[in-house]
Symmetry: C2
């Protein structure tokens, strides 16, 4: 499940490093200050799950590096959203440490938000959750209880 995959101790910090351009074991180790055995376990897990891939540094090389797969790169929305949430809520009197800029226009991006298909912002209170085609009986029951509780 997505939440279990991402919400694991060092995992999200390793992913951020990968987006920052770290590829080699030593780069991750240096920037994160993480114990080598924990880093090895986490990198292997991310490869196994298809988020990173291990490739030789160059053709035929013995040393390898870790690169984001398309599935891993698709997490950029979540990392940027987390960063923007931190900028909004965690006290930093100086302002945001990092700005995300569109290369071609030089403009800052929009805050990542939940939008309708025609682009209106949708607040949590305006959302309702319904079972999709892959819902288990447990999910169906949870969502039924949820819709019985109008206060939520």
């Amino acid at each position: 499940m997505a939440l279990e995959l991402i919400g694991e101790g060092w995992t999200i910090l390793i992913l951020r490093e990968a987006f920052f351009g770290s590829r080699r074991f030593e780069d991750f180790q240096k920037h994160l200050g993480i114990a080598r055995n924990i880093l090895t376990t986490r990198l292997n897990k991310l490869c196994e799950k298809g988020i990173l891939e291990r490739t030789p540094i160059k053709e035929g090389a013995k040393r390898h590096e870790y690169r984001l797969t398309p599935m891993g790169r698709d997490l950029h929305t979540i990392l940027i959203a987390l960063n923007q949430w931190g900028d909004r809520w965690l006290q930093n009197t100086e302002g945001a440490p990092i700005k995300f800029i569109e290369r071609t226009t030089g403009e800052e991006i929009m805050d990542v938000a939940v939008l309708s298909k025609d682009g209106r912002e949708i607040k949590p209170r305006d959302l309702t959750l319904i079972p999709g085609p892959g819902a288990t009986d447990e999910t169906i029951e949870r969502l039924r209880l949820l819709s019985d509780n109008p206060e939520k």
Copy 2:
């Protein structure tokens, strides 16, 4: 830092439960199957960080419940984005277990994405990161190294 706050073992699953309407200790415990001492620690941490708040069940009651603060509710974008990422990439031949619907229109929401201020989708390769007003020397140096590496 936002990533450290959210990316901690049970934390994200507890938050999802809160969005699903769990408020009482017993609700979280039942739905997550988590050890009581770990749940206590995590709930206290989330209160301390301002994401949940402990309030009496009713005025003057001794028992209390845990509710999302505005800062906590503002995490809904990230939880929905994670859910949609899971729907895109984790094998589930049946389809999405949950659909997010706008209450007033009955329409499914847009996939959460990184957009320009005028609503165009921005891919990771079209983004560049620059130091903001709150950047530390370390952040400035990391971003400089990043921009020196055109392959990223």
